[in-house]
Amino acid sequence: MAVSDELGALTRAFSGLGVDEKALISILGKWHPEQRQTYRKGTRDFFIEDERQFERWDDYHVIQLQHEFLRFKHAIVLWTMHPWERDARLLKEALHKGPQHKVLVEVACTRLSDELLGARKAYHSLFDQSVEEDVAFGIRGPERKLLVALVSSYRYEGTKVNEGIAKSEAKFLSSAIKGAAGNKNLLENEEVVRIVATRSKPHLTLVYNHYKEITGNYLDEDLEGELYLQETVQCLCKPQEYFSKVLDASMRPDVDELKKEAVTRIIVTRADVDMKLLKQEYNHKYGVSLPNKIEDVANGNYRDFLLTLVARGD
């Protein structure tokens, strides 16, 4: 490979999610000191000129690199974990790392009732507290009631639904949303919280459909701008669409580390659940297959591992 090609390849090996271990070994491994110096001088992104005349690694980029090298390890550990421990740790991180309260919604609403119960049990073991006490204590805003209710739910999982009640709850939501008139305070409406936090998913799907019939709009679209309520309805009624959106946003260039972690989280937690549907939805929404997108943005072992997980359900 010509030197300039190699420089390009090396930069690519360091860019995106995960690192291209093979490229790093084959290129960097054989470079003499002068070649490495050329690299350092030529890569203003990673190296800065120190006042004492040497090229220094930029601290920020070292931290970035650390994340990228560890991305594969993190995915493996998360994948191997018992789903209860995994979800308990995700819930804890959602509260403290960031925080990312939307991940609380994601975990609470997209797991089966018994899986969420398992996560709550694991939370006791891991953290000597209940998840609801941590959520209630750690969140002060108007979303507290909704989030505590979501992590405490144990939704009925059968198919039996009550059409009459679903219709009236759809009507109620429609007038509540009109009444809120974009004031973004639907979270404080106890009945709204009651409906989304306690009703079963089949029931809510019925409510979602009735809402469309009554108003001509989709419930989650009408909840645009309503903190957490939009995500809640999406996770409960159209999870694959929700996950596709989050995945796509996380794979854009120049997003922060927390957003990038969503890729591992979603692929690991959905691989055994609804990966096939997720892929279909992603393709439908963004016109590119999920495996192709991952090939584009990810590198090395991390990329290969993700692709293996994503291939499930094929």
Partner: protein, 291 residues
Amino acid sequence: MENNEALIIQILAHRNAAQLKLIRETYAATYGEDLLKDLDSELWSDFQRALLLWTLDPTERDAYLVNEANKQLTSSNWVIMEIACTRSSNDLFLVRKEYHARYKRSLEEDVAYHTTGDYRKQLLVPLVSAFRYEGDEVNMMLAKSEAKILHEKICDKAYNHEEVIRILTTRSKAQINATLNQYNSQFGNAINKDLKSDPKDDYLSLLRATIKCLTRPEKYFEKTLRLAINKLGKDEWALTRVVVTQAEVNMQCIKEEYHKRNSVPLERAIAGDTSGDYENLLLALIGHEDA
């Protein structure tokens, strides 16, 4: 099959939950019907209600009681609170699971739907949804600060403030105990004394009862029994419910508490207040450990 009530009492009252389950299954296999269906067919007397409840296993029983409470009005809140607060985290969860199977809805959706008025829903729904940590670990700093928060809200008469609800509906029982001890030592009064400002206020009574159930359930049950026996409470099925639900659980403790408080053994009080088969069944149940 004719209801030979004395025989039924003898059989059913002296069996534990596992044996009762076996009896029901054997009955069904022999007669092709649910034992309970037989009992159902007559009008329910106190006796029959007690028998029916006793025959259910504890999880089914609690699910049944909550569902029944949802359909009623006022005093039923107490039943929901009582079950939510005095069962262990795991047992409460089993009740929620049983509720799915029996009623094809979640327990919390029914409680949320049927409770109207701020105070009940705010307190009851989180109480039934809780999965409290069950360990003994206590965070003393947290206990101190949460005691302060409780005191502040009580002084402001903000009895259904978010923070009050949060503390009582999410903290572990051990933590709540520690917090209330701190309350007492920091502010000189037990919290329930400070919550007595308006004796007619239903919400405050419920709140005090919640606290009692979480920290001293045997005292709560003693009081409930005392009011029921003296016909002072509004809860007409309290006697049946407490005796049946606590018979295999906490009855010894409750009997001691009752005797201490009332200077008369519980057996005597019940015998004085009830009669016939109902009396015999209740006495058999509270003497259960001795049988």
